[in-house]
Symmetry: C2
C-alpha cells in the first residue's frame, strides 16, 4: 500500500493532519500538549513515516537540493575530489547534489542553469576544473551561488581558489631549508592564475631569503611532460646550472626527471625536485617519489558547499567573499641537500 502519508499518521494518532505537521516539524510557538505530541511521534515511528519532499517543496519552495555545474568532470582527476568534497558537505547537511557538466559550452551552460533553476535548487556551485577567471552566466543572478576553483569577474559572488602563492612559497621554502640557494623554476608559459601565482610565490620566497632574482633560472614551457622535459633541459644546460628545480606541476616534474636522467644526474643526490598538484598516479609513483604541493580540491569543494549553505540557511551577509585554500606540502624523496 505504498509509503504512509501524513494523514495515515494523523488517523493512527487520532488527530488532524495539521497537528501532525506541526509536531513533526517542531514548529516554534505551536501549542500541542505533551501527550498528543508523543502520540503523534510514536505513530509516525510505528508507520515509518517520512514526509514526501516533493509535496513539501511545492509548499515551501525549498528543495534541499543544490546544483553543481562544472565545465568538465572527466578530463581531470581533480574534478572528482572537488565533487566529492561538495557531495560530502551537502550530504552532511541533508542536501542532495544535482550534477551537471557542460563541457565548457556556453549554450549548454545556460541551458543547464535554467534546468537547475526550473527545479528550484536552493543554490548552485559553479565549478571549473582548473583555476581561472570566469564570467558567470547571467541566470545565476537569480539564485545563491558559490564559485569553486575560479575567480568570478565582477560581481560579488563568494569563491574559493587554491593559494598558489602560498603553495609555491612552501615548495621553495622546502628547498631553501634543505640548503639550496640556486633554485630554478620550470613554469607554464600560459598566463593562467596558477602560473602567475606560483611565480609570484617563487620570487617572494627567494627575495625574503635574500637571494637575488635570476631571470635565467625561470624557464617557461607547456605545462606537460614534454614541456617539463624541455624547460628542465634548458635549466640543466645552463653554465651555472641550478641544483634544485621547482616545477610548475607534477607532469613537468616527470619531464624533469627524464631530462635529469639523460644527463646522468641522480635525484635527489645531484638534483632536488619539487612538483605541484600531488597527482595520484605520478607523484608517489615516480622514483624517487616526488616531493610536491597538494592542490586542496576536496577541501575547496567542502568549503564551497558550506559557504553556500550559509548563504541559504543563515544570514546571507556573513562569511568571506573570496577564500584562498592553503596548498600543503607533501614530503617525499626528491629533495636532498646540495651536493
Amino acid at each position: 500500500m505504498g509509503r504512509p502519508r501524513i494523514k495515515d499518521v494523523a488517523a493512527r494518532a487520532g488527530v488532524g493532519v495539521s497537528t501532525v505537521s506541526v509536531v513533526l516539524n517542531n514548529v516554534e510557538g505551536a501549542r500541542v500538549s505533551l501527550e498528543t505530541r508523543e502520540r503523534i511521534l510514536s505513530a509516525a515511528r510505528a508507520l515509518g513515516y517520512t514526509s514526501d519532499p516533493i509535496a513539501r517543496s511545492l509548499r515551501t519552495r525549498r528543495t534541499q537540493t543544490i546544483g553543481f555545474v562544472g565545465d568538465d568532470i572527466a578530463t581531470t582527476p581533480f574534478a572528482g575530489r572537488m565533487i566529492q568534497g561538495a557531495q560530502d558537505a551537502a550530504w552532511q547537511a541533508g542536501y542532495l547534489l544535482f550534477l551537471v557538466n557542460t563541457g565548457g559550452e556556453r549554450a549548454l551552460e545556460r541551458h543547464a542553469v535554467r534546468a537547475l533553476l526550473d527545479r528550484s535548487v536552493d543554490g548552485v556551485i559553479y565549478a571549473t576544473m582548473y583555476h581561472r577567471h570566469v564570467e558567470l552566466p547571467e541566470l545565476l543572478g537569480d539564485v545563491r551561488t558559490v564559485v569553486l576553483d575560479a575567480r568570478p569577474t565582477g560581481g560579488s559572488v563568494p569563491y574559493v581558489v587554491p593559494d598558489e602563492r602560498g603553495g609555491a612559497a612552501a615548495a621553495v621554502g622546502e628547498l631553501l631549508r634543505a640548503g639550496h640557494r640556486r633554485i630554478g623554476f620550470a613554469t607554464e608559459s600560459l598566463e593562467v592564475p596558477a602560473a602567475t601565482g606560483r611565480l609570484a610565490g617563487y620570487h617572494e620566497t627567494l627575495a625574503a631569503a635574500g637571494i637575488p632574482a635570476d631571470p635565467e633560472l625561470v624557464a617557461a614551457e607547456h605545462g606537460d611532460t614534454t614541456g617539463g622535459y624541455r624547460a628542465a633541459g634548458r635549466l640543466l644546460d645552463l653554465d651555472e646550472r641550478p641544483i634544485a628545480i621547482f616545477c610548475y606541476n607534477d607532469r613537468m616534474a616527470m619531464g624533469c626527471y627524464r631530462a635529469a636522467a639523460e644527463r646522468g644526474l641522480r635525484i635527489p643526490h645531484d638534483l632536488s625536485v619539487v612538483g605541484y598538484d600531488d597527482q595520484d598516479l605520478i607523484a608517489p609513483e615516480l622514483s624517487p617519489a616526488l616531493t610536491t604541493v597538494a592542490l586542496p580540491h576536496y577541501e575547496m569543494g567542502r568549503w564551497a558547499v558550506r559557504r553556500l549553505l550559509g548563504l541559504i540557511e543563515d544570514d546571507p551577509e556573513q562569511g568571506e567573499q573570496g577564500h584562498l585554500m592553503p596548498c600543503p606540502l607533501v614530503r617525499r624523496d626528491s629533495v636532498g641537500p646540495p651536493p
Copy 2:
C-alpha cells in the same frame, strides 16, 4: 512577479488551465482545435512558460531524475568518466542526476538509497569504481536499477562491465601481429574479475595462435608500479626471457619500463610492452608512449543510463541483462617487431 504559471498562460490565451496542460503536454487523443492550440502555444512562448517540475512530480509521481550512487568517486580517475557518461546520457533525455557517494560504507549506502527513494527518483544507477561482484542493498528492490561496472550477485538486475577478456585478447593479438611468440603476462595477484578475465583472454589468444601455455611467463604481483617492476623483473630475468610483456595495467607497465631500463633494454626495440586502462597521466606520458587497452568507462556510464531509461520509459522487459562493453586497443609506440 516571478515565473509565469500555467494559469497565466491560460488567462492570456483565454482558455482554461486544463486545456493549456493538454496542449503543452501533447496529450494523445485530446480534442483541441488547431486555432486554440496555436493561441496557447504562442501565449506560452510569449510568457516564457515552463512547467514547474515539482508540481508536476507531485501529480505524476515522476521526477525526471535519476540517482547515481557510487562507492567512491575521488580515488580513481575513471570514476569521472563513468559519471560523465551517465550524466551526458541523462541530460540528453532531459533527466538530472543526483550524485551520492557512499565511500563503500554499507550503512551510508542504505541511507543514501533511502534518501533517493524518498525523493522519488525514477531510477538508480549503482556504480562501483572498479570491476567487481556486489550485493545490492535490499531497498533497491523498490526501484528500477542498473548496475555499473560491477556484476550483481543473484537477482536479475541489468549490469554492464568491461569485456576484460576481449581487451586482453586485443592486447595479446597486437603483440602476435607484431610477430611475437614469447609473450609474458605481468598480472595482478588479487582474484578480481579484471585479473581472471584478462588472464583468460591472454591464454585463449595464445592458444588460438597455437602457442603452448608456459606458466613461467605469467608473473603475479600487486597491481601497482612496484608490483609491475617486480613482475617484469622476474620475467626479464628468466633464462629464456619474453621479448614482449602484456601488463595487467598501466601502472604495472610503468614499473615494467623501469625494470627494462635497469637491464639496458630499450622499448620497443628490445622489448614490446602493452598495458591496460589507458590512464591519461601514464600511458601517453611514458616514453615511449604506451600501447594499451582502454577501459570504456564513459561508454559504460552511457549504456547504464540508457538501459535505465529503457526500464523507466519503455517496456521493462526488453534489453540485455548483462552487457560486456568492448575495451578498445590504443596503439602508441611501445610495440615493435621482435629483435
